[in-house]
């Protein structure tokens, strides 16, 4: 890979990014519009000594990914809505057992089989809440092909650093679009690997917060330190416990890993928000429409800003709470019936008027739709 | 495309997708290809086995001339 400008598809950038981040295992089950990720992984992984396997379904894929990660390989799977639903149980297992892994969901029109080839952003809430029980998770969402590459690497890094599954939430537009990208020099890429326990350790306690950062060092299976992993609530030794104290401590640590590190995990781009009276919030391909709309409106002298979320979960409450008091309106643009807008409302605490621009017909929201809705919102009585 | 009064093989041209199966596998080579399109050129040879009809993926053939296109 060199830093020549080339035309690259979103799904391809995902595979390139993953391999650059150190992915050496991919297990998946094909589904439109994520299939190219599987196909390119099948081709490219063995070239770098990595492994690709097509499993019998998405549940098995997620299981194999967790198994491979426990055995020490950086592992990824990619899917779309129906497959993402199926993976949820095992995603929860990875959350609780703190096994790093990356799950790509290329969103298509839903619900159910829905619109397999058309774009949507309808899985935003599911990405946070799809598995049962309280659990930590990180979800990032790229808007550009270049950013697919970058955020895939970031997904691996966050996942390894915090021992948490990380979801790369794409939409069909970004995944299938080809765009000019210049990939960075591989040596310039920052790669994070999971923290390992001291190999001379006597008694490895796999869930002990040795370093006080909430993230226990992680041994790999078969590398000299045997240990036990279970999806039951467990104490620091990794063995099941039903103690209320143990349970509370475990869940709290899992959540604090995320909520104590928002500075590191949250990633968003604020554009023209300083003097804006109206800020449009968006993510993924929708943000590109918003960008165009904002530029048009700015050229017309309107005080519009935008907030583009690259980390969707944990939700960037703070980005909203820190908006200047000049801001009157928040508009949330999403290719769905209205999902993230509820989170924005919760963050707004009545300080801003919150409205949505929603499109859920299989088409990307167009800039002119954003412009006219913005006009409506700003001119409301 | 009618070759005889009492017996005919009807190919529905709108339904046919030019896959060539009927042409290739008629045991009696009743069809020829006109740019991929099957044309009955050897009706006399037909033994009415109906394999062409049964194998047409697009239900475009009727052996026996009942189709009213």
């Amino acid at each position: 890979m060199n830093s020549k400008a080339i035309l690259m598809q979103g799904n391809e950038a995902c595979v390139e990014g993953a391999i650059a981040a150190g992915m050496r295992f991919y297990a998946g089950y094909p589904i439109t519009p994520s299939t190219e990720i599987a196909e390119l992984s099948a081709e490219k992984l063995p070239k770098v000594g990595g492994k690709f396997i097509q499993m019998e379904d998405e549940i098995a894929s997620m299981g194999a990914v967790i198994g491979a990660s426990l055995a020490g390989l950086k592992a990824m799977t990619a899917t779309s809505g129906p497959g993402f639903s199926l993976k949820q149980e095992n995603i929860g297992f990875a959350c609780l057992t703190e096994v790093p892994c990356v799950i790509v969901n290329v969103q298509r029109g839903g619900p159910s089989t829905g619109l397999p080839t058309l774009p949507a952003q309808g899985d935003v809430m599911q990405a946070r809440w799809g598995t049962h029980g309280d659990h930590p998770i990180i979800v990032v969402s790229p808007s550009y092909v270049k950013e697919v590459y970058e955020l895939t690497i970031r997904a691996f890094n966050l996942s390894e650093k915090y021992r948490v599954p990380c979801i790369l939430l794409m939409d069909e537009v970004v995944a299938h679009m080809r765009e000019k990208v210049e990939l960075p020099d591989p040596s310039s890429i920052k790669i994070i690997n999971r923290k390992k326990p001291d190999p001379t350790i006597k008694e490895y306690e796999p869930y002990k917060d040795c370093d006080g950062d909430g993230i226990p060092p992680m041994a790999n299976f078969g590398e000299g330190i045997p240990f036990h992993v279970t999806g039951l609530i467990h104490d620091i030794t990794g063995f099941p416990s039903t103690s209320a104290t143990v349970t509370e401590a475990l869940i709290t640590r899992l959540m604090k890993k995320i909520y104590d590190n928002l500075d590191d995990i949250l990633d968003y781009e604020s554009i023209f928000t300083n003097d804006a009276d109206t800020v449009i919030i968006s993510f993924g391909s929708t943000a590109r429409s918003v960008m165009r709309a904002v530029q048009i409106m700015r050229r017309e002298g309107q005080k519009i800003g935008m907030l583009r979320l690259k980390t969707i979960w944990p939700f960037a409450h703070r980005a909203i709470q820190e908006l200047s008091s000049q801001v009157k309106n928040l508009i949330v643009a999403e290719m769905n019936f209205g999902q993230l807008v509820e989170m924005v409302k919760a963050s707004a605490e009545g300080r801003f008027y919150v409205a949505g621009i929603n499109k859920f017909n299989g088409e990307l929201i167009a800039p002119n739709e954003i412009i006219s809705r913005t006009r409506e919102v700003r001119s409301r009585a | 495309m009618m070759a005889e009064k009492t017996f005919s093989i009807h190919v529905n041209d709108r339904a046919c997708k030019r896959c060539g199966i009927c042409i290739a596998f008629c045991p009696k080579k009743v069809f020829s290809s006109e740019n991929g399109k099957p044309v009955v050129t050897n009706l006399e040879a037909c033994i009415k086995c109906k394999l062409c009809e049964l194998r047409c993926p697009d239900y475009a053939i009727v052996v026996g001339g009942e189709e009213n296109e």
């Binding site: 089950y29 094909p30 589904i31 439109t32 299939t35 599987a38 196909e39 099948a42 081709e43 063995p46 690709f52 097509q54 019998e56 379904d57 998405e58 129906p82 159910s112 089989t113 | 529905n12 709108r14 339904a15 997708k17 030019r18 896959c19 060539g20 199966i21 042409i23 290739a24 596998f25 394999l51 009809e53 049964l54 194998r55 047409c56 993926p57 697009d58 239900y59 475009a60 009727v62 009942e66 189709e67």
Partner: protein, 272 residues
Amino acid sequence: MRKELEKYFRTEKLPHIWCPGCGHGILTGAVVRAIDNLKLDQGKICIVSGIGCSSRAPGYLNFNTLHTTHGRALAFATGIKLAKPELKVIVLTGDGDCAAIGGNHFIHACRRNIDITTVVFNNNIYGMTSGQYSPMTPQGAFATTAPYGNIDRSFDLCKLAQSAGATYVARGTVYHIPQLIKLIEKALLHKGFSLIDAISICPTYFGRKNKMSSPVRMMEFIKDACIPAKNAEKLTKEELAGKIVIGEFYEEFAPEYTEEYAKVIEKAREGK
């Protein structure tokens, strides 16, 4: 289309979406002809599928039809059949739908011997998602996810079904249609779980990836690879390599699930 078959089709939906020369059209025709030959009550037939090119078949057929989620046709069908045993329930599925993601429902439906006829449109590939290998893709063949040749061994779906408990098991092909129609008829008349492994062709993906991109070439391949079950018995494993054995494999008369459940109801109503 032949007049007497028209009532079985939603003719306004034709031409179907399948590629030129796709075997699925041929197989759908065979299913319809078997139904017509038996003069089954059209209103009492329910056809269920999962997701895949093959699973699009029910949409063209004029019955009670249900296009479910990927791999789950037999689970839905089991619900329908148990709820209304008087319905004739037919599942049309693909090799991926039935044997990859749907494998568990498949073996369990076999095991229960519930009266469902399953016809697998087996094109040895995932057609709908553009050519990934399936559990039926031959070892060594190429697919978009097997760019270096497939190392997975494939199922013998008929053996699997029989060992799981299916009570009628047969295999036919898009080439051998008159025989296939007969097998489907027999399956439809059979009381209990019946499987037809119907070898299909996908010239677009399987063909293109494996140097057989014309439908005719694929049909020829199948024609050449097939041998009747009777003949196969005499051959060694090595001689059978690469061959497709067709015909009837198994037939057993065993208690059918919904009939057994009817007895449970009787028992329960008697107060055990």
